[in-house]
């Protein structure tokens, strides 16, 4: 028998909880600087460095920067710096696992807000077929490879090719919509520019603005549009097995009703169809836990921290939430 507390938690509406956590995290990461808060420079989430009032910084920026180091310096103090950076990132990451995306990421939150705007307008959301998802899913790995290789080619020469110039320094940041959009939240529009000072800068800033435009329109139509391409999400996936927060599935209890798949903002098919793997986290997963909410089978889907159950699917909770939904929230 479950404890009363666990039952009460399982009956909760985690989406509502997530909504408030997202607001809190957004404020913390975007405005934290006003309170002199800095929770770290190796965060596994898009706390944008270009936001002067941020309350923490995204690890990808540091990673890209470190990659400009010449190979020979890898074994010096620089190498230790890089390792400590990665280790810090890793420690941050495993605490929340991919819930960094679903609960903390300011850019993800922004997209969720765009989605609710769309919902207010009564416009339907876009759905992609499994094949489309598969195709789009590889983009984030390509971006991840590029954001490591391009900076490497600044400090090092590959195959005797000339080194790249420093304008290639943080290639992903240049096209990341976090750079352009997050500073806007305290009135800083300075990233909305096309930089004509060099060709590289011009191309990168133009790409950045194009991606920004695409994100605004895309996230309006498709839930969590950018997350499908997010290299941070790909980077997370390398470490996800070490995550302390886990999303597990008991395949024997699954009826394959597909409710979880319906609820999934990033359209993960495996959540409904995979009956063999216990650890069900996929690279696109953001651990928003909406799948658990939508699952009417007792203990089929489960989020646990350090093997302690945090949130479990239950019939009682399911019907409670559905009734809530059916009576206008």
């Amino acid at each position: 028998m479950k404890s009363k507390l666990q039952t009460a938690i399982n009956n909760c509406n985690v989406s509502r909880f997530r909504f408030y956590v997202q607001i809190f995290s957004f404020a913390l990461l975007v405005y934290g600087g006003y309170l002199a808060i800095n929770i770290g420079d190796q965060l596994p989430t898009f706390a944008c460095v270009f936001d002067q009032m941020r309350g923490g910084a995204c690890y990808l920026m540091g990673l890209q920067h470190q990659m400009t180091t010449p190979f020979k310096s890898y074994f010096s103090g620089r190498g230790i710096g890089m390792l400590t950076g990665l280790l810090t990132f890793f420690l941050f990451f495993i605490a929340l696992n991919k819930a960094w995306c679903g609960f903390v990421c300011p850019l993800g939150t922004l997209q969720d807000w765009l989605s609710s705007l769309r919902r207010k307008f009564g416009i339907r959301y876009a759905t992609y077929s499994a094949q489309n998802f598969k195709g789009l899913g590889t983009i984030k790995y390509i971006l991840l490879a590029l954001l490591i290789l391009l900076p490497m080619a600044i400090g090092n020469s590959f195959f005797g090719l000339p080194k790249l110039n420093h304008d290639f320094g943080v290639p992903f940041c240049m096209i990341c919509p976090g750079r352009t959009l997050l500073p806007v939240f305290h009135g800083d529009f300075s990233q909305f520019i096309i930089d004509f000072s060099s060709k590289t800068k011009m191309v990168f800033t133009a790409l950045g603005m194009a991606v920004t435009g695409m994100l605004l329109a895309g996230a309006f139509a498709k839930k969590r549009f950018f997350c499908l391409f997010c290299p941070m999400s790909a980077f997370h996936y390398i470490f996800h097995k070490a995550g302390l927060l886990r999303l597990t599935k008991d395949g024997s209890k699954c009826t394959r009703c597909g409710n979880c798949y319906r609820a999934c903002d990033v359209g993960i098919h495996a959540i409904a169809d995979d009956l063999t793997h216990k650890n069900i986290i996929k690279d696109d997963c953001m651990m928003c836990l909406k799948c658990i909410e939508a699952c009417p089978e007792e203990d089929c889907l489960k989020a646990s921290f350090f093997a302690m159950p945090v949130y479990e699917s239950s019939a009682q909770g399911f019907f409670k939430r559905m009734q809530g939904k059916c009576h206008g929230k």
Partner: protein
């Protein structure tokens, strides 16, 4: 002339039906002690419905359905009354046999017989008969019914549910059905109405799930024969009234649980019932099982478990999200044997056997119901691997095989008890061995 004959056939059929229903109810009510007080509503309900003067169950417009794949929510949303037509009466079966092939399934035969005999009953109120294209017999009955003059609506269903294409195909089918429901009834389907209908059906299934949870208790709180009546009543009862009565039943069973009450013998073998749907008054096999000392603790049939268990989940309260969600509910988790492959049914049975701690499975197949007959081997194999004994019973609506069935069922129950004793002895030996060493 023809009309006169039909009138006569109808009269004898209805007498026959009333008797059949009375006999079954008598068995259910009188032959078992300690029926829950909340069951009285259902006993009375069946007495009112199954007599020699059938009435329409409602004043509303009626949409007749067959199979579990028709989304009732859409029928509620247009303010109509969903009436499940699948029939279990031997009386109607005999009528159906007159114009249906001898080897066809008794469910289809009885349903067709009922529709044939009672055609005058419906009048204007039956707006459509919605038949999903599930098994071949249901499919072909579309044409026969259309020839009789019924407003048949064939709900186009894929033969498999695995591929994404079939899922979308079915979603489009249901979307089209939504538009057609509007046309047929002249009522506009709005998001608000669908939402309310989903809520209504969801609270019914949440009640059903509560009953299921209670059936998992160590001692059976309610017998299977009563459960079949409860779920079967959902076919034709007003949903609000049904819910009120089931709530009372749930409360009573909870009370029984607190008191440590057992509906059957405490050591009674726990049986999981599956296969062709037992529909009142044909509850022959379930009653025989419980007369033989078993207790049906769970069932996996489309007349009961599959009807109310699966639930709709939608993300956004718009028609574009809710209607596909309705479609998904009736296809994705469906374990109807007309689908292929149907591995989900095997998994479901094994999981149910585990969750309900079933000691054995009784698999009923109506002769003529090919999908269930053909799936028997796979189920038997899967259950054997899971070490759950299974009894396969091929039967129909006629009471003729009762004697033979009761012998086989009694032997099965006895074999479960023997198995249990053997296990216990082995355990004792082992324990003694451990203590000795």
């Amino acid at each position: 002339m023809e009309n006169e004959r039909l009138r006569r056939v109808r009269k004898t059929t209805l007498l026959h039906l009333a008797m059949e229903a009375k006999n079954t109810l008598l068995k259910i009510e009188e032959e078992f002690p300690d029926n829950p007080a909340a069951m009285d509503y259902f006993y009375t309900l069946y007495k009112d419905v199954f007599n020699d003067e059938p009435k329409l169950p409602t004043d509303k417009k009626i949409i007749g359905t067959m199979c579990v794949q028709v989304p009732q929510e859409l029928i509620h949303a247009v303010g109509a009354f969903p009436l499940r037509l699948c029939n279990g009466a031997s009386a109607y079966d005999q009528v159906g046999a007159e114009f249906m092939p001898a080897k066809s399934c008794p469910v289809v035969r009885a349903t067709m017989g009922m529709l044939h005999v009672d055609q005058a009953l419906w009048g204007e109120s039956l707006q459509a008969v919605v038949i999903p294209t599930t098994c071949d017999q249901k499919k072909k009955s579309c044409q026969i019914l259309a020839d009789m003059g019924y407003p048949v609506y064939a709900l186009d269903m894929p033969a498999t549910k695995e591929s994404e294409a079939s899922r979308f195909y079915w979603q489009e089918s249901i979307k089209k059905f939504t538009l057609d429901m509007q046309k047929i009834t002249g009522v506009k389907i709005t998001a608000k109405r669908v939402q309310a209908a989903i809520a209504k059906v969801a609270s019914a299934s949440s009640l059903y799930r509560k009953l299921q949870e209670l059936r998992k208790s160590d001692y059976a709180l309610i017998l299977g024969k009563d459960m079949f009546l409860v779920t079967n009543a959902y076919f034709f009862d007003e949903i609000d009234r049904w819910q009120q009565s089931v709530s009372r039943l749930v409360a009573e069973l909870e009370e029984r649980k607190r008191n440590g009450f057992s509906a059957g013998k405490r050591q009674a073998p726990r049986i999981l019932f599956t296969g062709s749907p037992p529909i009142f008054p044909n509850l022959k096999v379930p009653i025989l099982v419980e007369q033989a000392g078993g207790v049906i603790v769970a069932d996996e049939t489309c007349s009961s478990g599959r009807l109310l268990y699966d639930s709709v989940a939608f993300d956004e309260a718009t028609l574009n999200d809710m209607i596909p969600a309705l479609a998904d509910r009736s296809l994705k988790p469906c374990t109807c044997p007309c689908l292929t492959p149907n591995k989900d049914r095997l998994r479901k049975l094994i999981n149910m056997a585990k969750e309900f701690e079933a000691d054995g499975v009784v698999y009923q197949a109506f002769s003529g119901c090919l999908p269930y007959e053909m799936e028997q081997k796979q189920v038997a194999k899967a259950l054997a691997e899971a070490e759950v004994p299974m009894l396969y019973v091929e039967t129909d609506y006629s009471p003729e095989d009762m004697g033979q069935l009761s012998t086989r069922i009694e032997a099965f129950i006895e074999s479960i008890l023997a198995r249990r004793r053997k296990k216990k002895v082995a355990q004792l030996h082992q324990k003694a061995g451990e203590e000795g060493s």
